[in-house]
């Protein structure tokens, strides 16, 4: 009995994760192309996607390395982009925190925007799922998404090797980030955070080592958090 319900939870996860394949494939391919255009080999590009498995952070690191920012700043900025993973981890914990350590470690590696968003929505809609079903569902959502991230990074890298480096791809990262940020501007707090960060970043452009980006991002976060707190006080 239990094993069939776990299996069907896994299959339900695959179904709910599948629509993201349409987003992940071109996105991974873009990373592969840009990384090889920036001078990375196919092996280095694929390693990047397998080891890090986080789109926005990978694009950030690539952009800053191309701008010759110091290594520490590259790492700090890309990790700052990934801070949201800690939030995902925290909000998944009540649901899958009871699973065995090895499963939790594997789940942690596969905690990405898509698997988190789909799983948390499901757990809230179906609170009577057992812990085994929840973790199986989580791995289901990962199955169509994450292998595609690796495979299409590889395809992109192979394509990128074939394209001449003079193709004006320098602007692909800013365009990609704009396309990611725009739908995320759902509330006044998100909009306030984004506008603050953009303005601060322009003001702090001359700060050495590209540190202005990190400072501006932190300023944006603080404004977002402040607006959220004020909105909550106003409505409660």
């Amino acid at each position: 009995m239990a094993s069939t319900s776990v299996k069907s939870a896994y299959h339900a996860g695959i179904r709910d994760g599948a629509p993201f394949m349409l987003v992940i494939a071109p996105f991974a391919m873009l990373f592969g192309v840009l990384a090889t255009e920036a001078g990375l080999s196919v092996f280095e590009t694929l390693s990047f996607s397998v080891v890090v498995i986080a789109g926005a952070a990978q694009f950030t690191a690539l952009q800053l390395m191309a701008e010759e920012a110091p290594t520490l700043v590259v790492l700090a900025s890309a990790l700052a982009v990934n801070l949201r993973m800690a939030m995902y981890s925290a909000s998944l914990t009540p649901h899958i925190g009871g699973a065995p350590l090895l499963q939790r470690a594997i789940a942690a590696y596969f905690t990405v925007d898509q698997s988190y968003a789909v799983s948390v929505t499901k757990y809230e809609a179906a609170p009577d799922m057992s812990p085994q079903e929840k973790i199986a569902y989580f791995f289901g959502t990962v199955t169509p998404v994450c292998p595609l991230w690796w495979i299409f990074t590889l395809i992109g890298a192979l394509v990128g090797e074939a394209i001449p480096a003079s193709f004006a791809l320098d602007f692909a990262v800013p365009i990609t980030f704009l396309a990611i940020v725009a739908p995320a501007l759902r509330t006044r707090a998100h909009i306030g955070a984004a506008i603050t960060a953009a303005f601060l970043s322009l003001l702090l452009f001359s700060v050495p080592f590209n540190l202005g980006i990190l400072l501006a991002g932190m300023g944006g976060m603080m404004v977002g958090a402040r607006i959220e707190a004020m909105t909550e006080e106003a409505t409660s």
């Binding site: 690191a61 981890s89 725009a182 991002g217």
Partner: protein
């Protein structure tokens, strides 16, 4: 050109750091609740850091040695507008990219 040693430090460091962030709570903290103020700040990391990277890259692109560039700024505006209205990431990227190439072709 990206230095190979730096590249591998970034790949491995980012891999370890990202895993640590993802494992921090699921793996180590258990099911204790995080302080509200911390969750509140973490929610705005993406909409904070990404615009900070975008803004100077749009207005002062490295490819033009920092000169204001009409095709790039137009492409940015189109991408943002498409994303705000349509909420389709891949569609917005294609729209912005098309704008960039068409204007570069027309203005060259």
């Amino acid at each position: 050109m990206i230095d190979k040693t730096e590249l591998w430090i970034v790949i491995i460091g980012l891999g370890i750091g990202s895993f640590a962030l993802r494992f921090a709570f699921t793996g180590l903290v258990g099911d204790r609740q995080l302080p509200i103020w911390l969750m509140r700040h973490l929610r705005y990391t993406a909409v904070g850091i990404l615009p900070a990277i975008i803004a100077p890259a749009v207005l002062w692109p490295a490819a033009t040695n920092g000169d204001f560039d009409i095709p790039r700024v137009s492409a940015a505006i189109i991408t943002l507008t498409l994303g705000l209205i349509w909420k389709n990431v891949v569609g917005s990227i294609i729209g912005g990219g098309a704008t960039l190439y068409i204007l570069q072709f027309l203005l060259s």
